[in-house]
């Protein structure tokens, strides 16, 4: 098969998987709660036992549904009701969740089949076809990746003209160059592994077919996003991954916190997407095309102000999708979704879309220093901001979520200073090791009966050996310890920052690297070392996860160890630089982001191991080690140390600073106050206006008509002569008027 066909098939396969799962998935799973399990007709399969309750209101229906076949609380149910599980969410309308669920989709939601004692075992087959299709897609992706990266090819596949309306012409066309190939590597690989992982993780969830349908739809959207060769396709993929993110965060939609988190993610993303949409419209208005190649070739013809505005609007979209300050609030809440979703969407792929978009549109950004500064500034600030929150979070997934925000911010920081390749390098290595860490945390949660508060975990390394080992590998990469992937990519960013003259940003980056190493190993030590601090009953159930869950961890550990060595050596000139050279050539030649007076401006940015570059590497590695050492000292050797440290902060600021960090610097509360409460106030004001002014005007019009009619009714005497007189008078009037006017 020609490569072009493969490229067109890569997004088509998961789309087919989605359609298959939607149409046939529900019939493939056999759930023991229903008496019949052989005749498969869609809805009856889901609701066969309850078809008699059609007339009841939905809420009570759902309750019947719950109690009808379960003998004990399920794992996810515990997860939902655990006092530590999730925090109430500002934007969430907690009570709204139950009422809006259509009875048709009342499946899933933690109604675990296998707790029925002695009943027929549930059978799950809905994962097979979607996973197989994604596996085939992965194979195609790797062929395309190899052809692009090793063969040096660039593919431009035109499928057909999608929109042809006057001068507005949009092709369905795929562009595969080095940048897309790198994304393809991460998205396809992590996507496939998450599918495999989900087979084990979602086992026992009645909504499994729905889960795999959403996962496949997500894969399709994400591949469309990275393969599209024009802004509209990028935008369609962009919105579609947002939709899938919404659907998957709210997968357990009966849990109010999950429903609220999904809504919050969707709403916050809309804010950024609005700017992104405006940016695309502006490009169309000014240049008359949305094709990447044409836009980038002609962007120089615009005024600097227009380029800056376009750049900032596009970046607004990236801020939303990649969860940068001030739109970062949705990502930590998104951890309400199932953990495979967190690994795939909220760590390895979708949140990278913003980085990809800025890198893809590098000709626009490199033409606007202001936009570059905005990207770098937001990046640096978010990096330290999110890291400072991650320091004190107790939920294992929240630590990783804030870490993701912080690492994405690193990438934006790199993009903003013109270190394009370093940003993509970090994207790739981060995609692998953060996917690994999230899946590892999912394995922990699964093994520890749904507990995800690290204060109630501990000592798991004896019972979850492989999870422990792989997570330590992932953490070493995240902490930036040499030979692991994160070390090379992170230090390349820091080195570029130094070379290009961003000394303050460099210093902040080093501090963030220290904090990253600290909170990562705080998580490891609290989860896997020490003693079990949770309920004793739960400890007896702690077990290593199923092979389908451990295998993806082991597979992902390989690129986590090797990606840096393969792609990043020698520093500042690794293989990835050659692969991406073509994409960023224009921006590199323009010298975008290089500050005057810096080392790079002087032209001697070459790396020397026994010179300046080596010193920077040493600093990068040693802050990582220092972070781990501090974490070890505080959480293993001397658990009293954190409290003493807080007490030692001068002016008694310690407890306040701790509280601020735990409470995410009150950003969520502030937004809740401004947007949720403010929204209520505005709505009340508008309601008053509507009730008093609008309704007043309408009623006033009616009242006026009534009064006028009341006056006119007196003319209606009912006497024929009066009417006749009126007619005669009118006739006389007309004749007189005629005579007066005529001369």
């Amino acid at each position: 098969m020609p490569i072009e066909t493969l490229i067109a098939l890569i997004p088509a396969l998961p789309l087919a998987g989605f359609l298959f799962a939607v149409l046939a998935g529900a019939r493939l799973d056999r759930l023991p709660s229903h008496g019949h399990d052989d005749h498969g007709d869609g809805h009856a399969d889901d609701h066969g036992g309850h078809s008699g309750h059609g007339g009841e209101t939905h809420a009570s229906h759902a309750e019947t549904d719950d109690s009808g076949f379960r003998t004990g609380p399920s794992e996810e149910e515990q997860r939902a009701t655990s006092p530590h599980a999730g925090h109430a969410d500002d934007l969430a309308n907690s009570n709204g969740a139950d009422g809006v669920i259509p009875a048709e989709s009342n499946d899933g939601l933690g109604q675990v089949g296998h707790v029925v004692e002695g009943g027929p075992q549930p059978v799950y087959r809905s994962w097979m076809v979607p996973t197989a299709l994604v596996a085939v897609g992965w194979l195609f992706s790797m062929i395309v990746f190899a052809s692009v990266v090793f063969g040096g090819n660039t593919y431009h596949v035109r499928v057909y003209e999608w929109i042809g309306s006057g001068s507005f012409r949009i092709q369905i066309a795929f562009l595969v160059d080095g940048l897309t190939a790198m994304l393809l590597l991460v998205v396809s690989t992590v996507g496939l592994l998450v599918h495999v992982y989900s087979i084990g993780y979602m086992n026992g969830d009645r909504g499994m077919w729905r889960f795999f349908a959403y996962l496949n739809l997500f894969m399709f959207s994400m591949l469309l996003l990275i393969l599209g060769d024009n802004f509209l396709m990028l935008y369609v993929g962009w919105e579609a991954v947002g939709l899938c993110s919404y659907a998957l965060i709210g997968f357990w939609y009966k849990k109010p916190s999950a429903a609220g988190a999904a809504k919050k993610a969707f709403v916050v993303n809309r804010v950024g997407d609005f700017g992104f949409g405006l940016g695309i419209m502006m490009i169309w208005t000014l240049l008359g095309t949305l094709d990447f190649g044409e836009v980038f070739a002609r962007i120089g013809s615009l005024s600097p102000v227009a380029i800056t505005v376009i750049g900032l609007l596009l970046f607004a979209g990236a801020i939303g999708k990649s969860a940068q300050f001030p739109l970062h609030v949705w990502l930590p809440d998104a951890m309400e979704g199932p953990t495979p979703v967190s690994a795939l969407i909220h760590a390895a792929t979708m949140v990278n879309a913003g980085v990809y978009m800025v890198a893809r549109t590098n000709p626009i950004f490199s033409a606007s220093p202001t936009a570059m500064w905005a990207v770098a500034g937001i990046g640096v600030f978010t990096a330290i901001f999110a890291a400072a929150i991650a320091l004190t979070q107790n939920d294992i997934k929240k630590v990783l979520a804030y870490s993701t925000v912080s690492q994405l911010a690193y990438m934006f920081f790199a993009l903003g200073i013109g270190a394009w390749v370093a940003a993509i390098f970090h994207l790739v290595s981060h995609g692998f090791f953060k996917g690994l860490l999230f899946m590892g945390s999912g394995s922990v949660i699964h093994g520890a009966s749904g507990e995800q508060d690290m204060r109630y975990l501990g000592g798991l390394r004896d019972r979850m050996k492989w999870t422990y080992r792989t997570m330590v590998i992932g953490s070493l990469a995240l902490a930036g310890i040499p030979i692991f992937a994160g070390f090379f990519s992170k230090d390349e960013i820091l080195g570029e920052a130094f070379n290009r003259g961003y000394y303050l940003f460099y210093a902040v980056g080093v501090v963030v690297a220290f904090m990253t190493a600290f909170y990562t190993f705080r998580m490891i030590y609290m989860t896997f070392h020490g003693r079990w601090r949770g309920p004793r009953d739960a400890w007896r159930h702690v077990h290593e996860s199923a092979p389908t869950m451990v295998a993806p961890l082991l597979i992902l550990a390989v690129p986590t160890i090797l990606a840096g060595l393969l792609l990043g050596l020698p520093p500042d000139g690794g293989a990835i630089h050659g692969w991406l050279e073509e994409v960023f050539r224009g921006a590199e030649e323009a010298g975008a982001g290089i500050l005057p007076g810096s080392i790079a401006a002087a032209g001697n940015a070459g790396f020397a191991l026994f010179g300046f570059g080596g010193l920077l590497l040493l600093i990068g590695a040693s802050v990582g080690v220092a972070g781990i050492w501090v974490a070890h000292g505080w959480y293993v050797r001397d658990p009293e140390a954190p409290a003493r440290f807080v007490a030692r902060i001068p002016f008694g600021l310690g407890p306040g600073m701790y509280a601020a960090s735990v409470n995410k610097y009150y950003v969520d509360d502030l937004y809740g106050l401004i947007w949720a409460r403010g929204g209520v106030l505005v709505a009340n004001a508008l309601w008053w206006f509507d009730a008093k002014v609008i309704d007043g005007a309408v009623n006033g019009a009616g009242w006026l008509a009534q009064r006028i009619g009341g006056l006119l009714r007196r003319a209606q005497t009912g006497r024929v002569q009066n009417y006749g007189l009126g007619m005669a008078a009118g006739l006389v009037l007309v004749i007189v008027a005629y005579l007066v006017i005529r001369p």
Binding site: Q716, G718, Q721
Partner: protein, 101 residues
């Protein structure tokens, strides 16, 4: 005596008819007054037809049309008036004020 004479008679007839229509309260008399006005108009139409050149008998034809319509109107009107007199037991139009307000 020329056109003016006919027009004066016609105006007088019309005025009598109009006055009768407005002043009398008997429904049948009001109908008769309407007929009077119509015939006053007919008279002026015929007079114009006779005295004005180039009118090609349009006035006469129009007068015939008016007579036809007047006959129809008198038939329907009289039927209505008799019907209402029968139900109301009075020809006085003052009594027929149910449509007021």
């Amino acid at each position: 005596m020329g056109l003016q004479g006919y027009l004066i008679v016609s105006t007088l007839l019309f005025g009598i008819g109009a006055f009768g229509f407005l002043a009398r309260r008997n429904a049948i008399l009001m109908l008769i007054c309407i007929e009077l006005m119509l015939n006053a108009v007919n008279l002026s139409l015929i007079a114009f037809n006779a005295y004005l050149p180039g009118s090609s008998n349009a006035g006469a034809i129009f007068a015939l049309l008016v007579m036809a319509v007047a006959a129809a109107e008198a038939t329907v009107g009289l039927a209505l008036v008799i019907a209402i007199i029968r139900t109301r037991q009075t020809p006085e139009v003052d009594e027929y004020s149910d449509l007021k307000d």
